[in-house]
Every structure is written in C-alpha cells, then in structure tokens.
C-alpha cells in the first residue's frame, strides 16, 4: 500500500493518525488516533451520521463493528511493519451496552502475532474504561514488509 510505504520511508511508520487520514471510510467515520509513548488509543467523536437508533440516539451497530475493526488493524500496523493493510479473516463482536451520543475510545491487544495470521482483541468504551460498549476478537491476514 502506497501510504504504508511512504510513511516507512519518512520514518513515520508508527504515525497512525496519518494512516487513518488516508483511509476514506475511517475519515468518513471521523476516527482519530492518539499516541502516548508506545500506546495508542483510537477516538471516534460523536456525529449524527453515526446514529443507528434515533429514539435512543445510540450509535449504529455497524459503526461499532467498524470502529472495533479499524482499531484492531491500526494496532497491528502500529506493532509491526506491513506491506499492505491486514485483511480481516473473521471478527466476532460482543455488544455490551448501547453506544451513547458521546466520544468513544478504542484499544486493542495483539494476542498472537504469527507470520501470516494475527489474533487481536479489542475493546471500545465511552465514559469508563471498565464499562466497555463492545468488545471484539478477530483474525487478520498479514503481508509482512
């Protein structure tokens, strides 16, 4: 992927904010990435076009799924250099609470990083990290750089 190669050449292989700005769908959702040392948090500011239920003003389940998936992929790219974007093989999502109309945060852990496949666990939350809105577990196909 061009953007991955460009960032690597510029010595910014871990600049995940620059990466998400190059992904049209991540930009459409409004995802940002905050980095503190060797940890990253993805941020999804609330916006009306993310709503799935107008009565509850709850986030759409698909938006929650997409945010989990992007958080997982961004963490994988932050941890290791890849030639191309990791491809999702499967993702399993637990919806734990309704997503309120506020900012949402995401963090992921790469639980196993093989040569071709990585396992990633991800959680997203709003006001309290100990009360996650949703969690996922996914397998991703890698193309190492």
């Amino acid at each position: 992927m061009k953007i991955l190669a460009e960032l690597r050449e510029q010595g910014r292989a871990q600049d995940m904010q620059a990466l998400v700005e190059h992904l049209p769908y991540a930009r459409f959702l409004g995802i940002d990435v905050d980095r503190k040392g060797n940890e990253i948090t993805t941020i999804l500011p609330f916006s009306d076009h993310l709503v799935g239920n107008t009565q509850l003003r709850a986030l759409h389940g698909g938006v929650i799924g997409a945010f989990l998936e992007i958080t997982s992929i961004v963490q994988l790219l932050f941890d290791t250099s890849c030639e191309r974007l990791p491809k999702t093989i499967d993702i399993s999502i637990d919806y734990l609470r309704s997503g309120r109309p506020v900012e949402t945060y995401g963090r992921a852990i790469v639980t196993r990083h093989g040569r071709r496949v990585a396992n990633v666990r991800t959680e997203i939350w709003q006001e309290s990290r100990s009360a996650p809105v949703a969690a996922s577990h996914g397998h991703f196909l890698l193309t190492p750089a």
Partner: protein, 143 residues
C-alpha cells in the same frame, strides 16, 4: 413506503452509507449499499472497507427479525448481542454490495440470524455472518 423502508429511512447511519431495501420476505430481507468513494477502505485498490460490510450485515440482520408481517414484531425494541463475520473473499472495486439476511429462529427472548454479503452472485459471497439479538429490550436511552 413500506414499514421496513420507513424504518431504514430513520436510521441516520444507514442513510449516510446509502443503504436501501431491495426486498423482504417472512423473517428475511435483502438490502443494498451502492459503491461510493467515501466507503473505500484501501485507496490503492478502491475496495469498500470491511466496516461497511459489518454495518450492512448488522442492519440487514436486525431488519430480518423485524420483517415478520403477520405479528407485532415491528414494534418490539431489540439489541444486538453478538455478530460474527467471516470474510471469504475480497470485495471488488466499484461494485454495489448486497446483503441477504434470514432470521432462522426466534424464541421469546432471542432471535438468531444468518446473513451473507455479495456483489451480484449470491453463490459467491464476500462475507457471511451469524448474529443474535435480544428481543424486548427497554427502549430508553442509557444514562
């Protein structure tokens, strides 16, 4: 406008990604998302992001549960418990996505739904999913 079309029109994110109802049956429905630049996941290939497929499958699965013409299921509120998606092949650039969902079992509390996403051949799916929904959840905002 049918009740399901009406239902879809009131989901802001469904409208934002251009989702429309193609057809419905008893406890099943078919939904389409037209290809659009802002839905792209990888700008090098122009392929739609997996997250859009997630949104489409989630939405179609939920609608399949509501799509039971002869009883009052339309009015029941529900919540997704879980959704598992298998991506079986890459989506192709500049092609619409279609999802077909079928609710194969409902109990008094839970609905079980299978769905597939494809471009034009339902025998060559891009992704398949299984979802469970909790029925009769409270329809009030979380505080």
């Amino acid at each position: 406008m049918s009740d399901l079309e009406d239902h879809l029109a009131h989901i802001p994110h469904a409208a934002a990604i251009g989702m429309t109802l193609v057809s419905r049956g008893k406890l099943s429905c078919v939904v389409r998302v037209p290809y659009a630049e802002h839905l792209v996941g990888d700008p090098d290939t122009g392929v739609i992001h997996g997250g859009v497929i997630t949104a489409l499958l989630d939405n179609a699965s939920g609608m399949a549960v509501r799509s039971e013409p002869e009883d009052g299921a339309e009015e029941r509120s529900m919540a997704t418990l879980d959704l598992r998606i298998d991506y079986m092949r890459p989506a192709q650039p500049r092609q619409d996505l279609i999802a077909e969902a079928h609710c194969y079992r409902t109990t008094s509390n839970v609905a079980f739904v299978r769905a597939i996403a494809y471009h034009d051949d339902r025998n060559d799916p891009i992704a398949s999913s299984v979802a469970t929904f909790m029925l009769g959840t409270k329809a009030a905002p979380r505080t």
